[in-house]
Amino acid sequence: MSDVFRALDDETRRTILDELAARDGQTLFEICSTLTMRHGVSSSRQAISQHLAVLEAAGLVATERRGRSKFHYFKPEPIAEIARRWPPGKRIDQ
């Protein structure tokens, strides 16, 4: 679970997840262009590629090849796991 928290501890990576949650299945090129144009993120493609690798290692992003291109998908399961461990509305002292 610690790799999930580490992956989420970065504003650019959280923004990448926002964009994938809004439109799933994006290429690196599409992610880079929306980050630049919508969010003013000026990171290089190489830097974004490394951010995606961190997210993928944490299980928050999965990739799939379709044709000759690679598409990225948001995987919310690790975040659901956090919510299961500390469910909202359930007090420990009850």
């Binding site: 290429t27 599409e30 929306t34 144009m37 919508r38 000759r68 291109s69 690679k70």
Partner: protein
């Protein structure tokens, strides 16, 4: 100095000519046999005196790894301007063209990326307002 011609590598020059003319709507300008290949160019009917696109054979060994890496990351090798991206997207999708990026609003423009079936991704761009050319008229 002007940009008169630019080139992309294509897997099969005849298939590329068919895609770039019949599907995208460009017109053949030059088609000159050179050995087993052709010096093959197309232009846009909307700007016949504009730059030519050279459809160059992809036989050089450096071409495949170069293009494979770009396609994997979804990076287009050329950008074409359209007046109405939504209409072009619908027209081309109906012709069986595969888009790796659906029309996306990026602020000043709407962009989309398609597979040219010859080994390249092509970006279509609709500018929302005329580009500022610095005042030259």
């Amino acid at each position: 100095m002007r940009i008169a011609m630019t080139s992309i590598f294509v897997d099969d020059q005849r298939a590329a000519l068919a895609f770039y003319t019949d599907v995208l709507g460009f017109e053949k300008r030059h088609d000159i046999p050179i050995g087993d290949d052709f010096w093959l160019t197309v232009t846009s009917p909307e700007s016949p005196d504009g730059p030519e696109l050279l459809l160059e054979p992809a036989g050089h060994p450096a071409v495949k790894p170069y293009r494979d890496a770009l396609i994997e990351d979804g990076i287009p090798l050329a950008q074409f301007a359209v007046d109405n991206l939504a209409a072009e997207h619908e027209r081309l999708t109906n012709l069986g063209v595969v888009f790796t990026q659906q029309p996306t609003d990026i602020g000043d423009a709407v962009i989309a990326v398609l597979d040219d079936t010859c080994g390249n991704l092509i970006q279509l761009v609709e500018m929302k307002q005329p580009a500022n050319d610095g005042g030259a008229a």
